[in-house]
Amino acid sequence: MTDLAPDTILSVRDLRTWFKTKRVTAKAVDGVTFDLKRGQTLAVVGESGSGKSVTSLSIMGLLARPGAIESGEALFRDSKGAAHDLARMGPRGFRKLRGKEIAMIFQEPMTSLNPLYTVGDQIGEMIALHNDVSRDEARKSALDMLRHVEIPDAANRLDDYPHQMSGGMRQRVMIAMALSCNPSLLIADEPTTALDVTIQAQILDLLRRLQEQFGMSILFITHNLGVVAEIAHEVVVMYAGRVVEHAPVVPLFAKQKHPYTEGLLACTPNAERDLDPAGERKALYSIPGTVPPITNLPPGCAFEPRCRYSISACTKVPPQLEPAGPERLSRCLRSAEI
């Protein structure tokens, strides 16, 4: 665990997180590799069962049994320049890093906030835990953070309880808490999924501006390609526990090198494409079938049964993640032909 490039804050290498029971082994994450560069946002996108959330939980050390990291590394460089392998870190090590160096925000802010304490107390507790400050100083910093996340009338909201706030405001409080110790890495797991579009736009905009201000790197987990286009610098697409495509955001949306990514984009309704000039609906492109159960993947490419480019070679051996153009990777035998 040595060669971590200077501009890289997180390097996940061949990570495998498996859920083993007596009868079956579910390879929820099976050989995931990616680098997150300092100050950038990497989006991990996939549908339910793709392994995107298990990837983030593995990195945060929040796996629940029977889930465990089978092999691989998740190298993280802290603000002092020291490297840590999160894949091998114990609870004590994590306690030092979480909050201070690595912070997290989740989909549902209500379940992540304690309903019995005011938001000011909760942010203050976080600050006091990691810094040597008095109660008053912690409270003052908490207020500063509420202002940073643009909560209107912040001084009066400091003593609100979570239930007195709207979903968007609660997510702002979560972001304030996450950023209160100026972490170098923010892991955001579907942070806008439960929010309305107008509020989602506000939160994405806020995250972008806070990233410029605080310089943190963001690992952004989502299923929504529209959100990816809004926030990411780089994108990793996951399917059935593996990375199927990896590319910078602009080239990815311009041209997909994996049939699954192509399909995902094609099946989001788009009036320009899916309505003819008279306004008549054309059938939407849809990916046939469903995601295969992770315990029973086909022997070849996991996407092969749903793929319109499938040939007999695709059913034989699992394809490798290989270069498919400048700065791009694709796990497809036919990526050159797509």
Binding site: D196, Q200, L264, N270, L275, R281, V291
Partner: protein, 328 residues
């Protein structure tokens, strides 16, 4: 839909629909206030808005799953709000609902054939072979196999469960179906399958659909007309093509501008809407949108803006729509 459809008569005319709930401490929740729109036979109307806009409440009162506080809903010549419970039951055969969550809306202890059969029972369908055939026919109609009837809901994926929900709704051969966020809980790759199915069934069976959704791109694709709601009131309504191409209400404009576009080269520079939707217990005076509207003036607080007809069935409730249209 095509121009020929636009001349058809309304199947459902909603006029001044009001639903108020009495909350804790006797406070009144203004869930739906003075909502009017029509749905022409064989077309799809989209009801869009954020959470708290009253779209789901409006949809459910139209089936009287929630009893309305006021207004009329004339379905094929009959005001269904004036019907007795007994008469309403007979009417329910003609109107059905598809729910958002295919996991909680199917009884996990019942086989699929029993779930669909129950709907057939409710309309007095004969038991025996005839019923079995009908269940098989319905399963085939929604793209499942007749054998699937023997299985339980947990044996299906989310998309397949939504197909079962659609089969149940169609079992009694309704003319009108309310689809309440039918694809929101599904993965993107499966959403398109279900949307294609709904679109196809509508054409084949001549269904009239009220499609409740928050996803604007889905509504634009599927709906002939769109009704935009905010805090219980209609802000704008009209043919989808007009509303999407030239939105006239600041709220519609903001909604369209904030929907994320899967194109990183068209990133939004600024966020048009500040703040949150206010509480329906104490909605703002005058225009309910004025507290978040970038164009609000003093007059907006004085009176509730009337719904104005812009021609071509396009309606907007904004006192400044003319000057805003001229300014842009």
């Amino acid at each position: 839909m095509s121009a020929t459809m636009e001349t058809t008569t309304p199947l459902l005319t909603v006029d001044g629909l009001v639903k108020r709930f009495t909350g804790r401490g006797g406070k009144t929740v203004h869930a739906v206030e003075d909502v009017s729109f029509t749905i022409k036979r064989g077309t799809t109307v989209g009801l869009v808005g954020e959470s708290g806009s009253g779209k789901t409440t409006a949809g459910r009162t139209l089936l009287r799953l929630i009893e309305p506080t006021g207004g009329k809903a004339v379905f094929d010549g009959t005001d269904i709000f004036a019907l007795s419970d007994k008469d309403m039951r007979a009417f329910r055969q003609r109107m059905q609902i598809i729910f958002q969550d295919p996991f909680s809306s199917l009884n996990p202890r019942m086989r699929v054939e029993a779930i669909i059969g129950e709907a057939l029972d409710a309309c007095g369908y004969p038991k025996g072979q005839q019923r079995k055939d009908r269940v098989a026919e319905l399963l085939t109609l929604v793209g499942l196999q007749p054998e699937h009837g023997r299985r339980f809901p947990h044996e299906f994926s989310g998309g397949q469960r939504q197909r079962i929900g659609i089969a149940r709704a169609l079992a009694v051969e309704p003319e009108f179906v309310v689809a309440d966020e039918p694809v929101s809980a599904l993965d993107v790759s499966v959403q398109a399958q279900v949307l294609n199915l709904l679109s196809d069934l509508q054409k084949r069976l001549g269904l009239t659909l009220l499609f409740i959704a928050h996803d604007l791109s889905v509504v634009e694709y599927l709906c002939d007309e769109v009704v935009v709601m905010y805090l219980g009131r209609v802000m704008e309504r009209g043919p989808s093509r007009l509303v999407y191409a030239a939105p006239r209400h600041p709220y519609t404009k903001a909604l369209l501008a904030t929907a994320p576009i899967p194109d990183p080269t068209r990133r939004r520079e600024h966020v048009p809407l500040k703040g949150d939707i206010p509480s329906p217990i104490n909605p703002p005076s005058g225009c309910v949108f004025r507290t978040r509207c970038p164009h609000a003036i003093d007059a907006c607080a004085q009176t509730i803006p009337p719904v104005e007809d812009l021609g071509g069935d396009h309606h907007v409730a904004c006192i400044r729509h003319l000057e805003l249209a001229q300014a842009s």
